[in-house]
Amino acid sequence: WFPTCLLSNITLLREDMMSLPWDPTERDNMANKQRGEGTSVEKKAENKKGADDFNLALDSSDDEAPEEVTFEDSKARAVESLKLALDTARREKELLKEKRRKRQEFFQEQKVCLTFFSCIINISFLYKLGVHFYAVTAMWSTNLNSGLKGSYTVSTVTDRGQSDYQRQAAEDFIQSRLYGPGSCRSSNNEMLSLQNKTRADKSAAVQFVKKDWGAFKNTINEPQTML
């Protein structure tokens, strides 16, 4: 967004920016006058006339030399555009931060009921966002650390939300494939009872004193979450 030719001058100009806003000096007033931005109406009118003349003059002839632009002028313009650019960048950074914060909140809410397929969509969305964020950070670090030429730091976004989601998706997948609908599972009680009835020395069906033993368990591991 700001021209590359300005890049090398940023540090210098930024120092200047630090002292803004300026108290207008004599020189600035003169520059203002020349541009037609005056303090008095008369001056304005006078200048306007001058400006008109100028325009007319331009229209009439291309051989005329271009308007003289003072150093202060161009400096002010450059500073202004730089300020604008830096402001835009700062705003964008804020926006991204806000986006990230919102995203985090969104996922915290959605964490419980997120299905496998929507997970895939979000993950690709996050990837795109993540990539953008890395690029912005890299660019900023380049510019501000004037002492570090060519080297930069890239900070990793340790987004727990994303990795937790992927893990949850993977767990849900294996859980549903091995123990979910269509997996034709029995219970340990039934299996042990069948063993008792089909072996050589037959005995009665198994009935556990603890009510929840031997019952159908449709989770792979309780309480661990290893795949």
Partner: protein, 652 residues
């Protein structure tokens, strides 16, 4: 022999963890088993399948490769590269360097998760099992070169994607796949075409393993069966070989998740938590010890500590400890009778670990006033005060910094010392007083072994400390002088239990190969009884037992008795009785009971075994001479496993 009041304890809710994956090193003959809770166990197949080491797991152990959960990892045959199949559809390549693993690059990203991987032996290609297909990657360029489409199941399964749970890439470019539709398929990896389909189960084929010479492939299913395929010609004499389904083994009651195919055996593990070794009968001599089916269902070390003087039990779980007070019965009865309990056993304390690391070891002092446990990261010590109506537990905050990397913990019999086995086969001795503890000394031996000490056994009088490490060494230290007293002569099998007799001062050791030795600490040589036992040899039925002895205790009332147990039996060796000969009936307790008294003594032999209690996790003798037997019936474990598949049996 005597009568004992027995506390039958069945309230230790020990639950082993499912076997998730295994790897075998044929040079060292060690099998590594990874459990669902992140623990890794090492079994020494050359030493009667002894569980040498256990590396404790961790809560939520997950590896971050920035591709999401990793479904599969596979190394190339040179061991230089590692490929990881991820949830996000990437196969990530890592370089295996001397001191670390370094990310190299991603192969071309796919649109589905990578469930399974297999390298071609040359390292040039990788086959990846995914959903509905198998992809073949060129490992150099990273591009996917072939796509093998896998058929879905029939009927209701047609609407669901088929998951290729496992793939194997053979040298001749044959690819073998196992999928969720219950098929084992044989593919030509060069042309990408299907050669043959075998439907082996109604459920999923979860895992495949290939033999070293690639002539045999085994497939593990959700049913708990293992199906073998062999590359043989269908008719004798003919040249054309096919993959033919040969044997089926039903080794497990639940899903098989891990397989290893060695030259002579099929090793399997899965959701039923048992490790099964099935020797292939065409590779071993029939009807020998070698050809027997081995099932390892219980740990080879003690998870129960007993405070003999206080009647307390400490149970070690991966993430917490439970302290129980035993019940009481003031009645007497006849042998075999169940006594009524007038005070029920009570859980006094449940202590959860702080942090995610699981517990490696734990100990309770004999007086019941000290409790200690260690994880990979830390050691914790607690002071207990237990009275009839009040329990208090106080953590000792400042522990000596020498207490780290602890593999085993043990308190002295007077509860004044804590012994901790530490790095480089050393033992740290710490003194305990009312409220705190102080470092005293580090005991070292000069054998040069760096293996951790897994057995610590102090003598009753506080003079000796017997130690054993996984290099099969037994060293005894003099605690009064704080230095090495002697080392027992080297024996090739790892000690599984070691204890010092309180009156004779003899050290008794039992090893993984079931051998028993008695070593005199005073004379520094084997005792006469031990020599006689070696000359005569142990009874074949004793040697054929397939679970190790994990503790030895002695009876103060009868110095000739040695009490030991394994998972299936509890035994008292009476050193005053003759040793059984090979042809003698070993399990003779029932017969002896039926004989009249004078004849009994004539027929008795030294090994008195009792099989009334199963499955035994621990046997201890309390100060009041009652026995505490901690049982964990296997059926109680099975009852709490995840669901097995529904088997349809004829007429049920």
């Amino acid at each position: 022999m005597g009568e004992f009041k027995v506390h039958r304890v069945r309230f230790f809710d020990y639950m082993p963890s499912a076997i998730r994956s295994m790897a075998f090193n044929s040079h060292t003959e060690r099998l590594a088993v990874a459990r669902a809770d992140g623990a890794v166990e090492i079994f020494n197949f050359a030493d009667n399948y002894f569980q040498e080491k256990v590396i404790a797991g961790r809560d939520g152990r997950s590896i971050e490769a920035y591709g999401g959960p990793i479904w599969t990892i596979s190394g190339n045959s040179e061991g230089t590269l590692l490929a990881a199949g991820c949830e996000d559809g990437t196969v990530k390549m890592f370089e295996v360097l001397e001191d670390r693993i370094q990310f190299q690059r991603n192969l071309s990203r796919q649109k589905g998760r990578i469930i399974s991987l297999s390298w071609h032996p040359s390292g040039a290609q990788i086959a990846a099992g995914m959903m509905d297909m198998i992809r073949i990657f060129d490992s150099e360029t990273g591009h996917a070169t072939h796509r093998l489409l896998v058929d879905r199941g029939v009927g209701a399964s047609k609407s669901r994607e088929v998951v290729v749970w496992s793939v194997a890439f053979l040298n001749d470019h044959t690819i073998i796949s196992g999928d969720s539709a219950g098929k084992v398929q044989i593919w030509d990896g060069l042309t990408g075409t299907l050669i043959r389909t075998h439907l082996v189960t109604k459920w999923d084929v979860l895992v495949l393993a290939v033999s070293q010479d690639e002539s045999s492939v085994i497939a593990g299913t959700s049913e708990g069966t293992i199906v073998q395929f062999q590359f043989i010609s269908s008719t004798v004499g003919q040249q054309d070989k096919l993959w033919v389904r040969t044997r089926t083994f039903k080794n497990h009651s639940h899903d098989v998740r891990a397989l290893v195919h060695t030259d002579s055996a099929v090793i399997s593990g899965g959701m039923d938590t048992q490790l099964v070794v099935r020797p292939l009968l065409d590779k071993v001599e029939k009807n020998t010890q070698e050809s027997a089916l081995r099932k390892i269902a219980f740990p080879h070390r003690n998870l129960v500590s007993c405070a003999k003087k206080a009647g307390l039990l400490l149970f070690q779980f991966p993430d917490h400890l439970e302290l129980w007070r035993l019940g009481e019965s003031d009645r007497n009865g006849t042998p075999g009778e169940s006594l009524p309990v007038n005070r029920k056993p009570e859980k006094l304390i449940q202590l959860k670990t702080k942090g995610e690391d699981h517990i490696c070891c734990s100990a309770l002092s004999p007086c019941g006033s000290w409790l200690s446990y260690a994880t990979v990261a830390a050691v914790r010590l607690y002071r207990l005060q237990i009275s009839s109506n009040n329990i208090s537990i106080q953590k000792v905050s400042k522990l000596p910094r020498e207490l780290k990397s602890v593999h085993q913990l043990c308190f002295s019999s007077d509860s004044c010392r804590l012994f901790a086995s530490s790095s480089f086969s050393s033992v740290v001795v710490v003194a305990l007083n009312q409220t705190d503890c102080k470092y005293l000394h580090t005991l070292k031996h000069k054998s040069g072994s760096r293996q951790p000490i897994h057995i610590l056994s102090p003598s009753e009088d506080g003079q000796w400390l017997a130690t054993a490490n996984t290099d099969c060494e037994i060293h005894v230290f003099n605690l009064r002088k704080m230095k090495l007293h002697c080392s027992v002569p080297a024996y090739s099998s790892c000690p599984t239990a070691v204890s010092i007799h309180p009156t004779t001062g003899n050290l008794v050791s039992v090893h993984a190969d079931q051998q028993i030795f008695e070593f005199s600490l005073k004379q520094k040589e084997y005792s006469e009884w031990s020599r006689q036992l070696q000359r005569q040899g142990l009874h074949p039925l004793w040697l054929q037992r397939d679970t190790p002895v994990t503790s030895i205790s002695f009876n103060p009332n009868n110095p000739a008795h040695i009490m030991l147990h394994d998972v299936f039996m509890f035994c008292i060796i009476d050193q005053s009785l003759p040793l059984p000969e090979a042809k003698t009936k070993f399990y003779n307790q029932m017969i002896l009971r039926s004989l009249p008294q004078p004849q009994r003594l004539r027929e008795s032999h030294a090994f008195k075994t009792c099989k009334n209690f199963q499955h035994l996790l621990s046997v201890n003798l309390l100060e009041d001479l009652s026995l505490v037997v901690v049982e964990r019936p296997l059926v109680d474990i099975v009852a709490q496993l995840p669901a097995p598949v529904r088997q349809k049996k004829f007429a049920t």
